[in-house]
């Protein structure tokens, strides 16, 4: 097991390096100017040249990459062009706000999605299966951007029961999760964010459970005289690796924040930060955020792989 963990962690290093190279290059492939934020539309070529020099964007791109990588390895992601704040600070603040959403969206989506999928998988063709499948299709198909707006119109505008945007009157600075006047700002974005993972997980779980139920060993279990509950327990355990792989991806998605959901609710998380960095071409923030999110994905996949191998030892042997 130790050798397996070490091997998987070694694999993660070239992946992380590749991610850094890709995310650095992508922002330079996109059209436009990385200093758009600080320059008005009618900036002249002479002004652009002076500002580029001042910000260090006049150096060759490979040199810029190596300098950036050198700083990254020491934990310095540079400074935001638009706010002049350290990128690491920007990313940590945004990620912690998104993590707050994920803290509630993950258990909600995983428990609901898994339970719904397991029930549907165990009762194929029944009305409950059809209901779950139909609900899952709706969950997957509804654009969360649209759903967010509808929830805001219903619960914030019409019923005045929940707030529409932001993190409360003091923003994230004094956000206390145990205080309802703050916590209520979480309700609508969490519901919106959880909807798609609920749909995806219930569909995946249903398919996995239905597939395992048709395997020969289940017939053997029944022939041995095991109760239906005991059979279901075996089926669920065997379907878990497949479901966990999808959970890992969805966990990364939820932790990465959703640009659309966070924009609709002006939630100052990583998705919102990313969207602002894209619009403003704030290259250091863009690179820092993409790199951080990518590393989170790599780490999540690593953890999921390890968990899968614990649940199903066959994976370790392959």
């Amino acid at each position: 097991m130790t050798f397996y963990i070490a091997r998987r962690m070694l694999y993660a290093i070239p992946i992380a390096f590749g991610v850094s190279l890709v995310c650095f290059s992508l922002v330079y492939l996109a059209p436009g100017d990385p200093l758009q934020t600080v320059m008005p539309p009618d900036a002249t070529a002479e002004t652009i040249a002076i500002v580029k020099h001042a910000y260090g964007f006049d150096k060759p791109i490979p040199i810029q990459y190596l300098m950036w990588l050198g700083h990254v390895l020491t934990g310095d992601l540079g400074m935001s062009i638009s706010t002049r704040r350290p990128v690491i600070r920007e990313v940590i603040d945004a990620l912690s706000n998104t993590a707050l959403l994920a803290t509630f969206a993950v258990p909600l989506a995983f428990s609901l999605g898994y339970t719904m999928g397991a029930i549907a998988g165990c009762l194929p063709g029944r009305w409950l299966d059809r209901l779950v499948t139909g609900t899952a299709v709706i969950g997957v198909s509804l654009p969360n951007y649209w759903l967010g707006i509808v929830l805001v119109v219903v619960f914030a505008v019409e019923l005045a029961a929940l707030p529409a945007t932001g993190m409360g009157p003091t923003g994230s600075a004094n956000f206390h999760i145990l205080d309802w006047s703050c916590a209520k700002y979480l309700v609508l974005p969490v519901m919106t964010l959880a909807m798609i993972p609920i749909g995806i997980l219930s569909r995946t779980t249903r398919a996995a459970v239905a597939e395992v139920r048709n395997q020969d060993f289940v017939l053997t279990l029944r022939a041995k005289g095991l109760s239906e509950w005991a059979v279901i327990r075996h089926v669920l355990k065997n379907s878990l690796p497949q479901v966990m792989a999808v959970m890992g991806l969805q966990f990364g998605y939820l932790l990465g924040g959703s640009i659309l959901v966070e924009t609709v609710f002006t939630w100052p998380g990583s998705g919102f930060l990313l969207s602002k960095a894209i619009i403003n071409r704030d290259v250091p923030v863009l690179q820092g955020t993409i790199l951080s999110l990518s590393l989170i994905f790599v780490a999540t996949n690593l953890i999921v792989d390890l968990l899968q191998s614990m649940v199903d030892p066959r994976i370790r042997r392959t």
């Binding site: 996109a30 059209p31 436009g32 100017d33 200093l35 758009q36 934020t37 600080v38 320059m39 008005p40 539309p41 009618d42 900036a43 002249t44 070529a45 002479e46 002004t47 652009i48 002076i50 500002v51 001042a54 910000y55 638009s82 706010t83 002049r84 704040r85 920007e90 603040d93 707006i149 805001v152 119109v153 914030a156 505008v157 005045a160 707030p163 529409a164 945007t165 932001g166 993190m167 003091t170 923003g171 994230s172 600075a173 924009t263 609709v264 609710f265 002006t266 100052p268 919102f272 930060l273 969207s275 602002k276 619009i279 403003n280 071409r281």
Partner: protein
């Protein structure tokens, strides 16, 4: 209740009534909370970014410039007025030397006195790369307004003299965009602009109170503001970036903000039915196309005129639910130098005839447009409508759609690098004579040096521009500017489409706002009922 207190009760009531009569109705004060269209909070270190919205809400509230904009009236186009300078004049012996008399008794928010040395320091902060106080972010924002600036000297503690490269009669307009920050505070934070942004100090009508990065910026009224007519009537001003239009609308309807910028046209009925006030006014903005004069169809004046005749601007207004003014010239008719320009009213037959005469039927043209962007209004449906109208009149328009940043790059680089593009759709501010007229047609402003994207050039126009820049008599200059505006229309130098009406939606609790014909607005007179 004791006997003594019973006896004193009538006296107390009388005293309370008398106090109420003497004091009059209580000031509404309150907190004005604004949902901005900006994607982020504008910086507080001087000239802000986020376009003129940054200047409107942050720049001119925290800071002042030597010349400010008079935003007190809604009926006429805003013009400049004395700010931190009480007056200015050209040196009688040197047409390239502007002398500014500075206002006395002004204090920075940090308590230091405002002096001539501070103006010199601010010019180094904005324009001198070698100075320790130089800030590239400030330079980037300020540089476009310092095109003719060469240097500055201190005449005395309350007088400074600016030197310009060429005679520049419009220099006071340019200097109105340069916001002055406190050298005292900058020195206190050792020129650490990240720290300065958290403790900014200006001379403006609002003082910085607190901020949460990317989320909200809070100012409080500066009760000691030097212009007593502009001491804010509200207690607190809160700015929240909300780039998504539907989010702003929902936030206003839910009572989380009491003022939103640019509600989308299809939300107006809903907002009105909820009792919100929609405020609009003409302002110096144009949604038009800058044309390629070097190569292709628009090098021919007849084709430029044909395109203008082919546009049905009334139909465009219907598309925008009435939120535009039909544009027939670079500036709206309320501009002092509007004059009597040729108006290209909708006439598709005339358009076809001109195209036939020019031998360009169907006339293939390519427009570079964006999907969104500052001041771009509703770029996709508007461009589609323009295309359909031009196509109906004999053009064959293809739209090259790109993101805002990419279009800005095309705009900055100029036509020489993009000869295949016949026109670009970048909305422009037309707040002052240079930005409204000159930069579009002056050979000296050819991109990438300036914003004459399509390299229009005419000896007559250049001579007229030189006349304007060297004419220091206001009335005579106005006549020349009017002539230039008329000439630009005669030449059909742009494809004129729409002037935005700068819509904003206000809660009924917001009182006292007068929407000036400007990109900037005076928030100091606004109060919010509790």
């Amino acid at each position: 209740m004791t006997r003594r207190s019973r006896n004193s009760l009538p006296a107390l009531l009388i005293a309370a009534a008398a106090t109420a009569i003497l004091v009059g109705p209580a000031e509404a004060g309150g907190t004005l909370t604004i949902g901005m269209t900006a994607g982020d909070l504008p910086p507080t270190t001087g000239n802000p970014d986020q376009g003129f919205e940054g200047y409107r809400f942050v720049g001119y509230n925290l800071y002042d410039s030597l010349a400010l904009w008079d935003l007190s009236e809604s009926e006429k186009a805003a013009d400049i007025k004395p700010g931190l300078a009480t007056s200015w004049h050209i040196d009688e012996g040197d047409a390239k030397r502007w002398i500014f008399e500075l206002r006395r008794g002004v204090k920075w928010h940090d308590g230091c006195d405002f002096t001539a040395d501070d103006v010199l320091w601010n010019m180094r902060y904005s324009a001198d790369e070698k100075a320790p106080e130089f800030n590239p972010a400030q330079f980037a924002q300020a540089r476009p307004y310092l095109g003719t600036y060469v240097g500055i000297e201190k005449v005395d503690d309350h007088t400074v003299a600016f030197q310009t490269k060429v005679p520049d009669a419009l220099f006071p307009y340019e200097i109105s965009y340069l916001l002055m920050i406190s050298p005292c505070r900058a020195k206190e934070v050792k020129y650490d602009w990240t720290q300065y942004a958290l403790r900014p100090s200006g001379t403006g009508p609002y003082k910085f109170d607190k901020t949460v990065a990317h989320q909200r910026l809070e100012f409080v009224a500066n009760a000691d503001y030097w212009d007593k007519t502009r001491v804010p009537k509200q207690d607190r001003l809160v700015l929240i970036p909300m780039p998504e239009a539907s989010t702003r609308t929902a936030a206003l309807l839910a009572g989380e903000v009491n003022w939103i910028e640019a509600p989308s046209p299809d939300a107006l009925d809903r907002l009105k039915s909820a009792g919100m006030r929609i405020v609009t006014n003409i302002y110096p903005h144009n949604w038009s196309y800058q044309l390629n004069f070097v190569q292709g169809a628009f090098a021919d004046k007849r084709i430029r005129q044909a395109a203008n005749y082919a546009l049905n601007r009334v139909e465009m207004k219907e598309l925008l639910n009435g939120l535009m003014l039909e544009e027939y010239a670079t500036v709206p008719p309320t501009a002092a130098y509007y004059g009597s320009p040729v108006l290209y009213k909708y006439d598709p037959d005339k358009a076809k005839a001109l195209l036939k005469e020019a031998g360009c039927l169907p006339c293939k043209v390519k427009f570079a447009i964006s999907t969104s962007g500052s001041g771009q209004m509703q770029p996709l449906p508007m461009n589609e409508l323009v295309k359909s109208q031009l196509d109906a009149a004999g053009f064959d328009v293809s739209l090259d759609t790109m993101d805002w940043n990419a279009l800005l790059k095309v705009g900055r680089e100029g036509v020489a690098d993009h000869l295949d593009i016949n026109a670009i759709n970048i909305s422009r501010q037309t707040q002052d004579p240079f930005n409204a007229l000159i930069r579009h047609v002056w050979t000296g402003a050819w991109a990438p040096k300036g914003s004459n994207w399509g390299h229009y050039s005419s000896p007559d126009v250049d001579k007229l521009v030189e006349g304007i820049l060297s004419e220091f008599d206001g009335d005579k200059r106005l006549a020349l500017l009017t002539k230039l505006n008329e000439l630009m229309n005669e030449e059909a130098v742009l494809l004129f489409v729409a002037h935005d009406l700068n819509p904003r939606a206000l809660s009924p609790k917001v009182q006292g706002f007068i929407q000036a014909q400007s990109w900037f607005q005076d928030l100091t007179r606004v109060s919010v009922a509790q």
